[in-house]
């Protein structure tokens, strides 16, 4: 699961990273946004159930949906 700040929400840490990348000489960068990645192992073979559970986890705890979006990838 990847959790990132929504567009329009100021990301002070992303801004600082953006500045640091610039000072390392990387040019041509747009905005940098910092997020979080959660690797969660789910037991069982039911992919649909796993996806529904993971979505609920994001809604209830892992993301603050006031300021953050999340995406779920199953492999």
């Amino acid at each position: 699961m990847t959790v990132t700040l929504k567009n329009g929400v100021l990301d002070p840490q992303g801004k600082a990273i953006e500045g640091a990348l610039g000072s390392l000489g990387f040019s041509g960068l747009g905005h940098v946004r910092q997020g979080k990645v959660f690797d969660i192992e789910v037991n069982g073979a039911d992919k649909a159930k796993a996806e529904a559970d993971l979505k609920e986890m994001c809604e209830k705890l892992l993301a603050n949906t006031v300021i953050e979006n999340y995406t779920i990838t199953l492999d």
Partner: protein, 223 residues
């Protein structure tokens, strides 16, 4: 008036809060541990500051999902006053009891200093001891006090008088939207604020500007 102070692992301003409530109300608050599912009959529940659960995931996120928070929500729904200071404010927004979110300070630094607060709404149960527009001194100490809320919600909060305190005189320490330092829920019984009024209540603190919040909430004549 009876009060309660919530205790969670990592909160460290509970002792200051207990001392302030005891001095102002003349009665020691009841302490409530995070696993408790019932809160005794009190008029005011306070969630103090600190670093609950080490600020893991997001400040206040894990504390907001502890059993005691469900009990606090039920009490708030019954009209009991709830005050969250600093991490307590972060916990209240994470629990969905107050609108918005508290993000990393724009300076990316922990700030520990004194700020000036404007009392924007002096008609709440927490601010009656002040005058509207009054400027008070108050200490802050936090890393994530940068209040954010979407534009529509902000407009409706302003219309409803839900912005209670604003940083003033250029003292905004964290970049918070519209200089917001403290907000109240629509019903008017849940207040969250980043500054620490419990640390400015008596001469030994160098002033008592913060006392009025507790005196208001506890129905004590302001000293």
């Amino acid at each position: 008036m009876k009060s309660a102070v919530v205790q969670l692992p990592g909160l460290n301003r509970d002792r200051d809060m207990i001392a302030a409530l005891t001095k102002i109300s003349g009665q020691a608050p009841i302490t409530v541990w995070q696993t408790e599912t019932e809160i005794p009959d009190v008029d005011l529940i306070v969630i103090p500051g600190g670093f609950s659960y080490g600020d893991y995931l997001r400040c206040g996120a894990i504390a907001a999902r502890m059993p005691v928070m469900q009990a606090i929500k039920e009490k708030a729904d019954q009209g009991v006053k709830v005050l969250g200071v600093c991490n307590g404010f972060q916990i209240l927004v994470e629990a969905g009891m107050l609108p918005g979110a508290l993000m990393r300070n724009t300076s990316l630094r922990f700030v520990c200093k004194e700020v000036k607060l404007e009392v924007v709404n002096a008609e709440t149960d927490f601010t009656r001891a002040y005058e509207k527009g009054q400027v008070i001194r108050c200490p802050v100490a936090h890393h994530d006090g940068n209040y954010f809320v979407d534009a529509d919600t902000l407009a409706s909060m302003e219309d409803a008088g839900q912005i209670v305190f604003r940083y003033t005189d250029g003292t905004n320490p964290n970049g918070s939207l519209s200089d917001i330092a403290g907000v109240i829920n629509a019903r008017g019984n849940v207040l969250g604020m980043m500054p620490h009024p419990e640390n400015l209540i008596e001469a030994a603190h160098g002033g008592n500007d913060g006392r009025g919040i507790f005196a208001s909430a506890l129905d004590v004549i302001a000293a």
